[in-house]
């Protein structure tokens, strides 16, 4: 914590190395949040980089009374929500409306092909079936292991709103697997217990 504050103070004085250290500390939580929110490795990479650019630009606005992790995650959350809003009105890329040449159709980018083979495609489908604000509270609850109060601070809601969103999100996901008849598959597939310690490069 003191180390992080030192990094912030040094970065504000223009020490690029101190800011790089902050990036090292927060790259995984920020990238994970972006990936879970946006559902694509390439978009998550861009969104996570953009989040750190915003952090760098607004570092002077950081209130030292606030937890740095909450401030960083709040910036990442708002950026992802903004992107998802823009996505609804964004122009379609030309390749989405025009047929692609045969040789480019099957050659996906390396990070995308890695995602295609990841075992948590089920998780991604479940999350992408949720509205963005529900997806956000679920991500903060399950991957960042934050309390309702901390989530409320990050997303700018009340604790009861967070509680209600978590409840609705869980109900929607439960209904999703029940309607797809996947309950038995999941019961066999998923090991009981806490998160595995190894991280996945996505």
């Amino acid at each position: 914590m003191a180390d992080e504050r030192w990094c912030v103070a040094r970065a504000l004085q223009g020490d690029q190395g101190a800011f790089t250290k902050l990036v090292d500390i927060y790259q995984t939580p920020v990238y994970n949040l972006c990936y879970r929110m946006l559902g694509s490795a390439a978009e998550a990479e861009d969104a996570a980089q953009e989040t750190f650019v915003r952090i760098y630009k607004h570092l002077a606005d950081y209130d030292a009374e606030q937890k740095l992790s909450s401030w960083v995650l709040a910036i990442a959350s708002h950026h992802c929500i903004d992107r998802l809003r823009r996505r609804r009105i964004t122009w379609l890329p030309l390749e989405d409306v025009l047929p692609l040449p045969a040789e480019t159709r099957d050659t996906a980018r390396p990070e995308e092909s890695a995602v295609e083979h990841e075992s948590s495609a089920e998780v991604r489908d479940l999350l992408q079936g949720l509205p963005a604000d529900y997806r956000l509270v679920i991500t903060l609850r399950y991957w960042q292991d934050l309390s309702y109060a901390e989530i409320a601070q990050i997303v700018g809601n009340t604790e009861s709103a967070v509680k209600s969103k978590l409840h609705r999100a869980r109900r929607m996901m439960a209904q999703q697997i029940l309607s797809q008849g996947k309950l038995e598959d999941l019961a066999c597939q998923v090991p009981q217990g806490k998160r595995v310690t190894d991280n996945a490069v996505l």
Partner: protein, 182 residues
């Protein structure tokens, strides 16, 4: 208890936020209600799935890529500021020179300027006014001709539509080109 209330408790129970009495009440309801039991099992399966999912981490070299992006942004900002500086600086300079020259001309050459205005300025303004009248009359004639002939009107509409589509397509191609360049 109502099933809807039990559903809310399920989420709290998943986060370990029910007291012992409430948890016992929930368990009793689950034993008695098959629908809620199935929903609870589904919710538990979802929770286990999410808890087991690993943290996604970026590809190695992420911090370096962020640093590079920051440098690019900073260079771009510097470029924009220098271009704006040159533009505004020269615009300001030219305006100041123009104003100074105009003032000089007005002060020194008031009489020749008045002669020039009456000799050339007024007839020019009159000519421009009559040209505008001619243009408006021509436009009115075209519009009334179009309204008299439905075929011409349809063709005119088609031409406007084709022009709009062509502009739209140009914009699509232009944006795509920008995406590829970026």
């Amino acid at each position: 208890m109502l099933c809807s209330e039990i559903h809310e408790w399920m989420s709290l129970h998943a986060d370990g936020l029910l007291d012992q009495e409430q948890a016992a009440c929930l368990q009793a309801h689950l034993l008695a209600c098959a629908d809620c039991r199935q929903h609870w099992e589904a919710m538990c399966a979802v929770s286990r799935l999410l808890e087991a999912a690993p943290m996604a981490v970026p590809a190695p070299g992420f911090a370096l890529r962020v640093t590079r992006r920051l440098e690019q942004r900073s260079a771009r900002r510097r470029r924009v500021f220098s271009v704006l500086g040159v533009l505004f600086g020269s615009a300001g300079l030219w305006t100041a020179t123009g104003v100074a020259m105009a003032t000089l001309v007005v002060i020194l050459w008031r009489a020749p300027l008045q002669i020039l205005w009456t000799a050339a300025g007024l007839p020019l303004a009159r000519n421009m006014l009559s040209m505008a009248k001619v243009l408006l009359n021509a436009l009115y004639a075209v519009a009334s001709e179009l309204s008299r002939r439905p075929t011409a009107l349809i063709l005119f509409g088609y031409a406007i539509l084709a022009l709009g589509l062509a502009l739209l397509w140009t914009q699509v191609v232009f944006r795509r080109g920008q995406q590829i360049t970026n």
